[in-house]
Subunit: 197 residues, 4 copies
DNA sequence: AATGAATGAGCCTTCATTCAT
DNA sequence: GATGAATGAAGGCTCATTCAT
């Protein structure tokens, strides 16, 4: 096989994905040209289209990566052997840390969904839905158990918390005032206090 | 004078702005062509460029409209003659209602900021900052007064709440499960409960 | 209005059509680039797409021109007040002369039909069918009247004659051995003799 | 030796040629990609370029196959020991049957000649010329012998008949109204009657 | 106040071909 | 004999903007 890596040691598809992620987050999907991506990755357009069917595929790949990671982590926390308050709090804090640690992915995730092809858009929405529902189930469990207030419908609580996660890309800057874990603790704290009976 | 309005009675610039708002929200700024805007508004390209210097100007105009409206409403609630809990709660609920009632504007606002020219982008950020600070001041006032818990830095509380406002465009659908006011009450409620000492 | 003609006095759309016709005949539709067409016409790509929706539209326009012309001429001869032998012979000779006089159009017509979009292809086939049927009706009229031999089904006779018209683009060269009218007389003669009872 | 055939038993070059023939006839030479050919043949690009120097070579091979076959058959009929009317009639009918039985080849032959490289194009024209001349000689022989009318120059007669052969790909559909032999008989019949003194 | 023809730069994608293995 | 990653050139098309009228 012809070499699929170069000086920096990473395979071509990964290099392309990394370049695309950075650029999509920086200037938006529509404002990033395929030319810019291949230049940043140090390959030619032909190479990109050898591995990806379209620019849209690149975006879809990024979505897949985010969805896989987040679902995996949520599942791990939700399945833990611990009281529901602990499980929810840990999951709520973890999604903040994970989002900050992959801020480019997250920025793209929330901003570019409608730039996917309709078909891929639908698929992503469906997977996102599964995630939402797992999180909601945790809240409802606590509400039924009486450890969380039942006043607010669990769906709204999920959207409240994920609004703040969604929003991180807008204001959080690495190296700024707060470490990721601090932000995570504060936001999880706000959620838990809002849910006190 | 040559007509500046047509059958539907609105002046040309307003018609253009209305068409642009709908289209930008529906398919994004970059995916909306000037041609589509003028067709939707029932005028020609020449007319658009007579009233607006560029496509970017249209977007900027929409930003101005949102910023003006939100600042105005926040100021009104924050200046009211009432206890700080009431003022914050009313402002927090009102921004939700106002956002839902202008969901296209809000969708554009949060999604298209980086598509403004750098100069206009900066200006919008500055105005947004003023808004953020007014809101934060309210929270800090309550924290100093001891009616809100001082545990979470006020800046983070503001971002927490505005995350959920930002997020509305993603999930809220008019005519769906909840009326605007219900959502507003629930979200303001969550905020107030999270702030309980 | 901005000028739609230039030094050579013809409007831009006509210039584009003329350039496209020459190039499509010379090197084929797929081998002719839009860039080459606009260069030959002395305009820019933007101008082409201002008047034509696609490269395919240009081709379709040429088809329309040929179909209109041929149908018009066939109708004129077929409707004439003369014996059927005369009407058929005149029509058969005329289509040869007209084809030779518009040899580029004809070359494109017979060679590029399958390069039209499926929808336009269908439409062209339908109009071509009408033409074929008018011609066939003339032959059947003569067969019923006993002035033409009924041995060969009229459909096949039409295809026989049109095969030779179709073929002209392959071998006929202006300024060569035969004048258009001579070829037309010979080919019409062959048809009439083949039809003798 | 490594296999040069696979499950379907045919050697790789033949499989490639068969796939190319079908695809070229179906959608045209320029619209068929090398990738599509190798997929249809169930091999890889490397294999194609191992056996053929270029895409153009495939086309040339198809031309060679058609030319060889037609010349062979014409020679057989023309050299037969029979009266000239019989020899011409048989040759004229045979080329129709042979063309119909290899309709893909014929479609490609008449439609794609200008897509050969200039050099190969010239070579094919030369071989085609030889074929034309052999056919013409037959007609001139009959004209000199007085069994065919001398009114029409033999060259034009050849083009008249071959126009109809050329045209077969446009309208003939296997399994349609006429069997190949019927069409051949009718078209040869038309030719012979047109040549009656 | 408004038109709409025309520009020119750039966009995503395709593709025949090469070559190290 | 055969692979398939990679190239590089070109292709059709879009679009914000300008400008003579």
């Amino acid at each position: 096989m012809a070499r699929a890596t170069d000086g920096d040691g990473q395979p071509v598809p990964q290099r392309l994905l990394a370049a695309a992620t950075r650029l999509f987050a920086e200037r938006g999907y529509d404002r990033t040209s395929v030319q810019e991506i291949v230049e940043a990755a140090g390959v030619t357009k032909g190479a990109l289209y050898h591995y990806f069917g379209s620019k849209d595929d690149l975006l879809h790949e990024i979505y897949g990566r985010v969805l896989r990671l987040q679902q995996e982590r949520l599942d791990a926390f939700a399945d833990a052997d611990a009281p529901v308050e602990t499980r929810l709090r840990d999951a709520a804090a973890d999604v903040v840390v994970t989002t900050i640690e992959n801020l480019d992915d997250a920025t793209i995730f929330f901003r570019s969904m409608h730039q996917l092809s309709p078909e891929k858009h639908k698929q992503v929405r469906a997977e996102r839905r599964r995630y939402h529902e797992r999180f909601r189930a945790l809240i409802e469990e606590g509400q039924r158990a009486g450890v969380f207030s039942p006043r607010t419908p669990a769906d709204l609580v999920v959207d409240y918390h994920f609004g703040s996660v969604h929003h991180l890309g807008t204001w959080y800057r690495p190296g700024g005032r707060w470490a990721p874990q601090e932000v995570a603790d504060h936001l999880a704290d706000l959620l838990m206090r809002a849910l006190r009976p």
